[in-house]
């Protein structure tokens, strides 16, 4: 007679099969394990991505999707710039800036290269500094600091306005356009504008008679007065020399006399040049007769 249930004293065979044993050992191999856990997913993803992208139309489609998404972001009304406001510039300069930039609004703020645009504005002579920002309300705010003209520089070609650093600001067509500014001339005069301004400040009493200043040989100044009188200033320390002339003028009315030039180039030996007949007239008025001809 057989027992109804299997013999409980005999447990089932717990031994793993050969294949299961080998698989278990293989699974415990570190290299195999890392290959399966890292290498296989990486390979699968790379391979399937490569397979998908190997087709040109799919690649183009993906690129198109990306472009479309980017454009959609760019063209959102939050990022659009509708107009440009220019502060700190005269109307003519503002017009010049607008025509130079030639921006066609509305424009996405992603498309505006701020640094390059600011550099382009600063290429204009009249602009010292430009600051660009996109203000709320979709406005491109341009804040311009203009150069301030202080002198008129006459060259052979044209008349131009210079600022305090000697930089060209604008061109003028006639001296009478800016009668308030002093006139300088001569080659290299723009490099010595601060010195010219210092001389002008020192020339207080003879200011009404001053016609202009000429840079001689790119090293020293001549002051030209009316009646074609000239004051030749030295290369170094021109202001004390000018003050000396003004003091002489005050004491002796030097410049009111018949003098063509006051030459102070050598400060130890100032020289006056008189008008051609001045000496003869002076001697005649003193009753001195000379036999010399007028030559």
């Amino acid at each position: 007679m057989q027992p109804l249930k299997p013999d409980a004293a005999l447990p089932r065979d717990p031994a793993p099969s050969r294949a299961a044993y080998r698989m278990h050992r293989l699974w415990l191999t570190p290299l195999f394990r890392s290959m399966l856990r890292i290498g296989l997913p990486v390979f699968t993803v790379t391979f399937s991505a490569g397979l998908y992208l190997s087709d040109d139309t799919r690649r183009a489609g993906l690129a198109g999707i990306w472009e479309g998404a980017w454009t959609a972001v760019e063209e959102r009304p939050e990022f659009l710039v509708n107009l440009m406001a220019i502060d700190g510039a005269s109307p003519a300069l503002a017009e010049a800036i607008r025509s130079k930039l030639a921006l066609r609004f509305p424009l996405s703020s992603f498309d505006i290269d701020m640094a390059a645009t600011a550099a382009r504005i600063e290429e204009l002579d009249a602009v010292a500094d430009a600051d660009l920002r996109v203000r709320s309300g979709n406005v491109l705010q341009v804040t311009v600091t203009e150069r301030l003209p202080v002198v008129i520089w006459r060259t052979q070609a044209e008349l131009s306005l210079l600022d305090i650093e000697g930089r060209r600001v604008a061109r003028v067509f006639s001296r009478m356009d800016r009668p308030d500014l002093p006139l300088i001339a001569g080659e290299g005069a723009n490099a010595a504008v601060p010195e010219a301004l210092a001389l002008l400040a020192a020339a207080g009493p003879i200011q009404p008679r001053l016609r202009g200043m000429v840079r001689m040989g790119e090293r020293r100044w001549d002051i030209v007065l009316d009646r074609d009188q000239r004051i030749l200033l030295p290369e170094t320390d021109p202001v004390p020399a000018l003050e000396r002339v003004i003091a002489l003028d005050k004491a002796e009315a030097l410049l009111a006399r018949d003098v063509i030039t006051v030459d102070l180039r050598n400060k130890d030996r100032p020289v006056l040049r008189l008008a051609p007949d001045a000496m003869t007239i002076l001697r005649a008025s003193q009753g001195v007769e000379t036999g010399a001809s007028s030559l």
Partner: protein
């Protein structure tokens, strides 16, 4: 002989490679169970400051990270009798231990108890070339030992130098660097049946494992369950296993004798099974739960249900008294111990200065065994448990695991054997270049 030398050296190199890699498995192929421990070697100094106990004979250098035991099948008397069944049992144990350790092991050190071990004492002498003893001289004196005829179909399992003598000074542990004229050595050689080792090798190979060492379980049980002074002063370890009882005699920390009795706990079980007419599994349960060898006054009143599912009510409802059980178990245990006594006498155990006997192994857990053993073997008997090693699960610290734990210690600190010394240079054949080329071809 040279073939053995090569194969043992190959195993030793394998063991070194496994130590380099840090993981090695230890397999105790017994008759009643197969135990597999996985050791991880992670530097000797990890615990030295923390516990303040020092290196502790090397067992702090490793840690048991996986342990598994399975019922053994196909093994009789400590020898493989059914290859397939044994292979499956080994696979079970190794896989479970690997699962616990979560590492893969490739190298395994095996011990087994059967194969009729026989001990031989060898002696050799060598006149030193120059007066200082070098490693070459040690190798020469070892190879100068005259090998007895160990018989046809037998193989050397252990060949350990036990004692060195330099001129008239004996008892040297390490003669290297000392000065003298004649170097003599005593060597202990243990031979076993070659076919058993071949079967075991084949079985391990079929499990995809590499054999990194092989040891007699009598020896490794002695290593783990004898304490240091017992090993030093002289003691015998009796490893009572399922199918065979191994005995090993130690003195001066060397094994000098090993033998095995081909009887063990399984014979007790089969006696109970025959005597009480119960199945083997029931007999095993009765033995472990109620067994004993010392009669007491309570025994007649302690009735043991044998149970059974034969369908015959009279047979299934039988019960036996514990007296009857002891009456069956005791003669067999006495027989085993008498046989051990005969082997110890033959080995001259009573000439040792200290005659401590340590009983270990699964069958040593029979209650009252130490009293019975004291009457047969002598007064100085104790029950031994294996040394405690790091990470060993509680379930595997019993005396049944003495051989497995001893094998761990053996793996960490192997005894010098004859093949650990290089062949003396005269013996290297002229075609060593050819051998080197062959080695390259085999290994690369």
């Amino acid at each position: 002989m040279t073939d053995l030398y090569q194969s043992q050296r190959a195993m030793r190199n394998m063991r070194r490679a496994a130590m380099q890699r840090g993981v090695i498995a230890v397999l105790d192929v017994g008759t009643s169970k197969i135990a597999c421990l996985i050791l991880r070697f992670d530097g000797p100094d990890r615990l030295r400051e923390a516990d303040g106990v020092g290196p502790m004979a090397g067992q702090s250098g490793f840690r048991v990270i996986g342990a598994a035991t399975t019922r053994s099948r196909g093994v009789r008397f400590g020898e493989i009798s059914v290859m397939n069944e044994t292979e499956r049992a080994i696979r079970t144990a190794v896989q479970a231990a690997q699962k616990m350790a979560n590492v893969r092991v490739d190298h395994v050190i095996v011990c087994f108890s059967g194969a009729e071990p026989r001990s031989y004492g060898l002696a050799g002498e060598w006149a030193l070339q120059d007066s200082v003893v070098t490693e070459q001289d040690v190798a020469r004196v070892l190879s100068a030992c005259d090998v007895p005829d160990i018989g046809e179909g037998r193989e050397v399992l252990h060949a350990q130098p036990v004692n060195f003598a330099l001129d008239h000074r004996s008892g040297l542990g390490d003669p290297r660097g000392q000065i003298g004229n004649r170097l003599a050595c005593d060597m202990h050689l243990l031979s076993v049946e070659a076919s058993v080792i071949r079967n075991l090798l084949y079985c391990i190979k079929r499990c995809d494992l590499e054999l990194a060492g092989i040891a007699s379980s009598a020896y490794v049980a002695g290593v783990s369950s004898l304490v240091e002074d017992e090993q030093e002063l002289g003691a015998a370890c009796i490893d009572m296993g399922g199918g065979s009882t191994g005995l090993s005699i130690f003195i001066k920390k060397h094994m000098i004798y090993a033998d095995a009795v081909r009887m063990g706990g399984d014979h007790v079980t089969s006696d109970i099974s025959k005597g009480l007419e119960v199945p083997v599994a029931v007999a095993e349960r009765i033995k472990t739960r109620h067994g004993g060898v010392q009669a007491t006054g309570m025994d007649d009143r302690e009735m043991i249900e044998t149970g059974g599912e034969s369908g015959d009510w009279e047979k299934d409802r039988r019960s036996v008294s514990r007296t009857e059980l002891i009456g069956i178990m005791r003669p067999r245990v006495e027989e085993i111990l008498e046989e051990v006594r005969v082997r110890l006498d033959a080995a001259g155990f009573d000439c040792l200065p200290s005659q401590q006997i340590v009983l270990t192994g699964g069958a040593s857990q029979i209650p009252g065994l130490d009293g019975l053993a004291a009457r047969i073997l002598g007064q100085r008997v104790r029950l031994g448990r294996p040394l405690r090693v790091q990470g060993l699960p509680q379930a595997t610290t019993g005396p049944a695991f003495a051989a497995a734990v001893g094998l761990c210690l053996f793996a960490a600190h192997p005894q010098d054997e004859w093949w650990d010394f290089d062949i003396p240079s005269e013996r290297i054949p002229a075609r060593s270049l050819k051998r080197a080329i062959r080695w390259f071809r085999d290994n690369w």
